[in-house]
């Protein structure tokens, strides 16, 4: 073992405090080669290290310089190009953790530098010549969620040549955005933004669109996930269905229920097509709602007295015979199984229901959520885009918007839902544009409109005569005539205010739906304290989840507007592509290794592993792809697990050098 020690002056950053001559004299006889350089991170110094390795003067390298976070990779490349394992390198941090923090006492700093270098020498002696882990990569991607985030990410990846499986739990893609009329800040048509994407994802040959399906199981790890997706039973032959909607019109009113697409403001039948813009435009049968016309149950045939077969209205109406109720459909649907290299989770959000907020008269049909009002404003909605209240079909004289319902509230969510101020302003402006005589009030704690074009959007709203009242609303009273009295507060006047209106719109908080949390549990992605999916690092890895190979896009990671969602979706797609564009991926080999002879198979490691990377059969087996090398498992009672690069031997060698 020939150790080379390279001491950096870092200009005067180290040399002014640490006595480098003293260090050279001290280590001269303890290692094979000692050299110093004014800037060890310079090209000539790199060449100096490389030639020492090439000339077989050294086979282990210790560099005493700045923090390993600055140039460790650069120094490793010197070893690698000289044909030595790049992990036979250790850096003694004598700048950030020595000369810069002990500048006032040069003697102490020099002594500490000696100890730090001795620790690095002791450690480098214990290092093994490791190689990077290499994994083959499956060049396909699973995108969960067919909203604007999922569709954008899918299209970007498809354009880069990756096979994409886009899984959506509803029968149609489009997400929440297809429900909207206009979107801020340009008040451009939401449908125009999203419809073209919906058509594109359905027609792109690289995208396999799987709607009305849910991810059931994800196994494996980064580069090679095995995915099981359950395609729910539609009870309609989608191969034959042409989406004409004939079956939906004949379904009897007994089999109707509140329409999810209209946020419960209209009804839909047991035979339904999700929305007029649905992609794929196919009918779905809801067996729970079905009244079994003519007592003809699914999977049975019925003959009339004359021997003629009885057909239900939907069967009769279908021009392509896509509906066949005599067929015994499997209610479990179909299980699809495929492999992907990476996953993007883009499951979106839900808004809180108004029922949670007893103080805001939720029983009144004239108190609605903002998403419901979005449907009222939409030309495809229950009023065809006319501003009407649904309880009596009349045009309201006054409308109040109430913000922060469930957000910025310690009882529910402490975070700000971020988009409410602006969508309330948007809705208020749309009302004013269509019906200028309607009085519009917005009750806010404060208006949050940060960013490009948004403050201007707010100023314009005020100019249009929308009353913005700063103060939290305490409650809403329903008056005998059906009107609603807002009991608010005006912080600018410093006194309570009461406003009587005909319609109240609650900007309820955005949150992660329960089924997304369930999905997160299933695939092992962490949920943060706010209740959204946790990104790996808010600044450096904002689209990566806590699991390698699984990425996040859109509101499942936190509230955001359409622009931010699209930006994040594109970032997620780019991050996926950067990993999957190579034939194989290289990963630092600092992971857990099991000594099979010492392992008793007790299973403690399996329980403590945060990433389910260890399975114990006879002995513990580490999944190299899933292991992140944290080392929690290394507290093995039999000492059968060690962490490569941070082995117990290495750490104890460091302790000995530092204390001894």
């Amino acid at each position: 073992m020939k150790i080379g020690l390279y001491i950096c002056h870092c200009g005067r950053n180290i040399a002014d405090v640490v006595d480098i001559k003293n260090l050279i004299g001290y280590f001269k006889d303890k290692v094979n080669v000692v050299r110093d350089h004014l800037f060890m991170c310079s090209e000539p110094a790199w060449e100096m290290i490389r030639s020492d390795v090439t000339n077989k003067l050294v086979d282990r390298v210790v560099i005493a310089a700045c923090s390993p976070y600055n140039h460790e990779k650069f120094f490793r490349s010197a070893l690698e190009t000289a044909g030595l394992s790049k992990y036979l390198l250790e850096i003694a941090n004598i700048r950030e953790q020595c000369s810069w923090v002990h500048g006032k006492n040069k003697r102490e700093a020099t002594e500490k530098a000696k100890r730090l270098i001795e620790a690095a020498i002791s450690k480098v002696k214990t290092l093994k010549p490791l190689d990077d882990l290499r994994f083959e990569v499956e060049r396909s991607v699973l995108v969960i969620g067919g909203g604007i985030a999922g569709m954008t990410a899918s299209l970007d990846l498809a354009k880069m040549g990756f096979k994409v499986y886009l899984v959506e739990k509803e029968p149609s893609v489009g997400g929440k955005l297809i429900k909207f009329d206009k979107i801020f800040p340009l008040n451009d048509c939401a449908s125009c933004v999203v419809s073209s994407l919906m058509a594109e994802v359905a027609n792109n040959p690289m995208i396999e669109l799987i709607t009305y399906a849910e991810v059931e199981e994800v196994d494996g790890s980064f580069g090679n996930f095995n995915v099981k997706v359950r395609k729910k039973q539609t009870y309609v032959d989608w191969e034959k269905c042409i989406g004409c909607g004939a079956c939906t019109t004949v379904c009897p009113p007994k089999a109707w229920k509140p329409n999810e697409f209209d946020e419960g403001l209209s009804k839909r039948a047991a035979m339904y097509i999700v929305s007029p813009q649905a992609v794929p435009k196919k009918a779905v049968h809801d067996p729970e709602l079905c009244v079994n016309c003519g007592k003809k149950k699914l999977g049975t045939r019925r003959f009339l007295r004359g021997g003629k077969e009885y057909l239900t209205p939907c069967e009769k109406a279908c021009p392509t015979k896509a509906i066949d109720r005599s067929k015994s459909w499997n209610p479990e649907g179909e299980l699809l199984n495929f492999n992907v290299g990476a996953i993007i989770v883009a499951t979106g959000y839900k808004v809180m229901e108004k029922e949670t907020f007893k103080e805001y008269a939720p029983h009144s049909p004239n108190v609605i959520t903002a998403l419901q009002f979005e449907r009222i404003l939409s030309p495809t909605g229950p009023t065809g885009g006319k501003v009407l209240r649904l309880s009596d079909g009349k045009k309201p004289k006054a409308i109040s918007f109430i913000s922060c319902v469930g957000s910025r509230d310690v009882r529910y969510h402490t975070y700000c839902s971020k988009v409410c101020c602006l969508y309330m302003l948007k809705q208020a402006r749309l009302v004013k544009e269509r019906e200028p005589e309607i009085d519009v009030y917005i009750h806010v704690i404060d208006v949050r409109a940060p960013g490009k074009d948004l403050e201007e959007y707010y100023i314009e709203a005020r100019r249009m005569g929308i009353g913005v009242i700063r103060g939290k609303v305490g409650g809403i009273e329903e008056l005998p005539n059906g009107r609603l009295r807002i009991l608010g507060f005006d912080a600018d006047l410093g006194m309570p205010v009461e406003v009587e209106v005909d319609l109240v719109v609650l900007a309820t908080a955005i949150e992660l739906p329960e089924d997304s949390k369930e999905l997160a549990r299933k695939i092992g992605v962490a949920v943060d304290p706010s209740g959204f999916l946790k990104e790996d690092h808010p600044k450096l890895r904002p689209v990566e989840s806590t699991l390698s190979g699984i990425f996040l896009a859109g509101c499942c990671q936190g509230p955001k507007d359409v622009s931010e969602t699209v930006a994040q979706a594109k970032a997620a797609a780019a991050s996926v592509a950067s990993l999957l564009s190579k034939e194989e991926i290289k990963v630092e080999p600092f992971i857990a290794k099991v000594n099979e002879e010492a392992c008793s198979g007790c299973g403690i490691c399996e329980n403590v592993c945060p990433f389910n990377a260890i399975k114990v059969n006879e002995v513990a087996v580490v999944d190299e792809r899933s292991c992140k090398g944290c080392g929690i498992c290394a507290s093995c009672p039999a000492k059968a697990i060690d962490i490569q690069g941070y082995s117990a031997e290495s750490i104890i060698a460091e302790i000995d050098a530092l204390v001894g």
């Binding site: 923090s67 390993p68 976070y69 941090n93 700048r95 950030e96 953790q97 020595c98 810069w100 923090v101 002990h102 500048g103 006032k104 006492n105 102490e108 700093a109 002594e111 500490k112 100890r115 730090l116 620790a119 962490a526 943060d528 304290p529 790996d536 806590t546 600092f590 403590v608 945060p610 990433f611 992140k628 090398g629 944290c630 080392g631 929690i632 290394a634 507290s635 962490i643 941070y646 117990a648 750490i651 104890i652 460091e654 302790i655 000995d656 530092l658 204390v659 001894g660």
Partner: protein, 137 residues
């Protein structure tokens, strides 16, 4: 006075680096061993350091809920607190060991802790193990 700090590579080690960049001062008794996660620190490492004569040992990890390995810092804190309860059995003071949670941006917290910990260990005096070995010398 010799103090060993085990610092996780994500938060604690970087907060110490940042302290350097900001030219904050802390006692040179403190030397840092980089570990992937505070959860990597086995109790044996802490005991080994004390047995070799370290006057104090602290384990530093990410703030709660911010561990890059989800729960490593919880494990580390648990281990240190259990160990500090048993230390008196070995004739060592509980306060010779500690756990610190610090974010990578919080150099100030790291430095203040380092200073206080050094003072705390100094008030206890040298590690008795070393005291005896010195007497023998």
């Amino acid at each position: 006075m010799k103090i060993i700090a085990f610092a996780c590579q994500w938060c604690a080690y970087r907060s110490a680096d940042l302290a350097g960049t900001l030219k904050y001062e802390y006692p040179s008794s403190i030397t840092i061993i980089k570990v992937p996660c505070s959860g990597r620190v086995e109790t044996e490492f802490i005991l080994k350091a004390l047995a070799e004569g370290a006057d104090g040992v602290f384990v530093a990890g990410c703030p709660k809920n911010e561990c890059h390995y989800r729960k490593g810092n919880f494990v580390a804190e648990l281990k240190t607190s259990i160990l500090s309860n048993i230390l008196p059995e070995f004739g060592l003071e509980s306060s010779r060991i500690a756990f610190l949670e610090v974010s990578s941006s919080d150099a100030k917290k790291f430095v203040e802790f380092a200073r206080n910990f050094d003072e705390r260990v100094r008030s206890l005096g040298r590690n008795p193990i070393r005291r005896y070995s010195h007497e023998k010398d």
